[in-house]
Amino acid sequence: MTLIGPWLQVKPNRIVEGTSRSLAFDDGFWGAVCLGLWALPLLVSVFSKNPRTPARAAWAIFVMVPVVVLLGSGAVASALVPDGSFVRVSPSWSFWITILGCYAGALVLGPLTELPRSWLTLGKAVFPAACLVGLATGAFAQLSLLKEFVAQSDVFWDAARIHLILSGVAVLAGTLLGTLTGWGAHRLVQFRRPAFFFLNLVQTLPSLALFGLLIVPLAALGLGGIGPTPALVALALYAAFPIARSTLTAFDHLDAAVLDAGRGLGMGRAHLFFRVQFPLALPVVLEGVRTASVQAVGNTVVAALIGAGGLGSLVFLGLGQYAPDLILLGTLPVVVLALAVDLGWVIVLGLLNRRVRT
């Protein structure tokens, strides 16, 4: 079906409705390549006696097809768009469904292939690598998203910078607030309920409503109801919750015997905290910071609505102008950023946990 469905849209310019192209009827070469990709693994799995081969073959197809579709779209766009014209070629739903479907398929089949971990990691890295190669070599230069990027590049980099700063500062402030709240709740049981009631309440409010709610009190404080300040306050409150939770869990679940031993060996409060409690709690606390920072990258999109800027401003601008490319230009980097932040934390936590298993 994805072969017949529209994979690319060709529009005379940025706004006007365009015509669809399908892999089956319009770009037969790339359609044939996609089909051809199925042939070899299928043949191998028909003749192989290894019970793992069908899963491995399917996994290989799911890894390779998105790359072909991606490179194909770049190539077709380059062929269709003369230099300097306003013609826009953008991926359509067949394109997205193929990539998402293959990603999901590869994810599900990965464990069934019983391939070594390094192979599976390599498989996951193929598509991002193809994206990077395509971008670097200019193979995608004629795709509409890239044209939009070139047209908006000043605005884009500005928005990206603000986005990073907003979410970064929010996570820092949220970490401070969250760890202190979590630690306080650990030490003082009476503090636990009110603190978590408040942070829970914040979590249940939609972010837009929270921005609205903050306008009045912040304006009263003379900080201004719109702009980056209320956005930061709201984002930090959002970030504080998972961090406070994980901090409380971390300190509540420290092994009582280890603490008793520390005290019994003659560690004072400071020694016990810095040599035992803090290092043992740190990985769990950082799990909370990881959750918070991924959330913050996403939440910051909404901050654009109260004039804080960031990649969200591109999204809302695109929505206003009905320019899908602009929406994508705002959304895709947020997704990539969130994934990158998560990956970063996975690496940091992996290094931290490598030796200690409690």
Partner: protein, 367 residues
């Protein structure tokens, strides 16, 4: 170090943990606090290093009140080991053992030497274990490291709260044996908490039997077993007190020279070590081959009437009389060969073990 408790009371809310307890523990002795759970034994131990502050009463070490020290300084001078070991999971074995020395700001070289020395002492190869993390250790190894950590700064006093209770019975027996031999060379003042009567009897120089926060009896294990002070004490020690008493005695104390003969190239040598119908047969090196009944020895081949010695029919010199008795009851043998390092050393007879048991039975009958 002499530890004195004077009228020590400890209340948790309305619950009485220690009920006006007065007791003095002797210098350089291994005192075991034993009692049912809730008897206050752990609480009593923890008043010594001020982890538990009594509601009233005083605890003194060599006459000085424990609350006259800064708690951290007091504790750094006392070795401390606990049931679940409580090793720091994020520190290597070496760093765990170095905990107190580094709090005392010893030099790096001195700490490294001490860690090495202690690992050897508790029977762990330093090069293999120093850089391991606690999760890479077996239960027995972790308990050994726990003991090494307690001994690290060479404290004159050692507090151990059920240090061997989290391992399997076989490992526990081995750890107890190793700890006893360490104690024989170090002669620390040790206070050891356990709920296991057998462990108490095996290890203790003196036992404090506690119930409901009070001392029921403070005596050597022998006296405790022979003359339990109250019906509770008798019940707690169990109806097999005579058997438990046997576990304090080694085979070596009661073994006699064995009637023996050497079997060399199919020829039986003369019987030495006293006349006997049954003799133990060894090779020329003194290794036990088996036993034989001399009345059956009519033919030319002594090998034909030799009943070979199975491994479960042999007892080592260091074993307790209780183990020897157990082997005899289990196999029906009335005498067992005693070996040391594979060589026949003597024999132990059921009759002699009965004698040891009856001694204590007689004493129980005393008023």
């Amino acid at each position: 170090m002499t530890i004195a408790f004077d009228e020590v009371r400890m209340l948790y809310g309305s619950q009485v943990a220690l009920d006006g307890l007065t007791l003095t523990l002797a210098h350089r002795e291994l005192t075991v606090l034993v009692g049912p759970s809730g008897s206050g034994k752990s609480t009593l131990l923890r008043t010594i290093n001020h982890l538990v502050v009594p509601t009233s009463g005083t605890v003194t070490l060599d006459g000085r009140r424990v609350d006259s020290w800064k708690p951290e300084d007091l504790r750094r001078g006392i070795g401390y080991g606990i049931q679940s070991v409580g090793l720091f999971p994020h520190h290597t074995v070496g760093k765990n053992i170095a905990a107190v020395p580094s709090l005392l700001k010893w030099s790096r070289a001195k700490i490294a030497d001490r860690v090495e020395e202690l690992l050897v002492l508790v029977g762990l190869d330093p090069s293999r274990y120093r850089d391991r993390y606690p999760h890479e250790l077996s239960g027995g190894e972790a308990q050994r490291v726990g003991v090494a950590r307690a001994l690290a700064a060479d404290p004159p006093l050692l507090l151990l709260d059920e240090p061997f209770s989290a391992v399997d019975p076989v490992t526990r027996l081995r750890l107890q044996g190793e700890f006893l031999s360490i104690q024989k060379t170090l002669h620390k003042t040790v206070v050891f908490v356990t709920h296991d009567v057998d462990e108490a009897i095996r290890l203790a120089d003196r036992i404090v039997l506690l119930d409901h926060g009070q001392v029921v009896q403070y005596d050597t294990p022998e006296t405790l077993l022979d003359r339990p002070a109250t019906p509770f004490a008798a019940r707690f020690l169990g109806s097999d007190r005579a058997l438990k008493r046997l576990s304090r005695r080694t085979v070596a104390e009661y073994a006699k020279p064995a009637p023996r003969a050497v079997l060399d190239r199919g020829k039986l040598g003369p019987v030495t070590g006293g006349p006997s119908r049954f003799v133990w047969v060894t090779d020329t090196e003194g290794r036990l081959l088996g036993s034989l009944d001399t009345e059956l020895l009519t033919g030319t081949d002594p090998g034909a009437v030799l009943s070979p010695a199975g491994e479960d029919l042999v007892i080592s010199r260091q074993a307790s009389l209780r183990e020897a008795l157990s082997v005899m009851v289990g196999t029906g043998a009335r005498a067992l060969p005693v070996v040391e390092a594979d060589r026949l050393w003597g024999e132990i007879r059921l009759h002699d073990i009965e004698g040891a048991g009856q001694q204590s039975a007689l004493r129980v009958a005393e008023p």
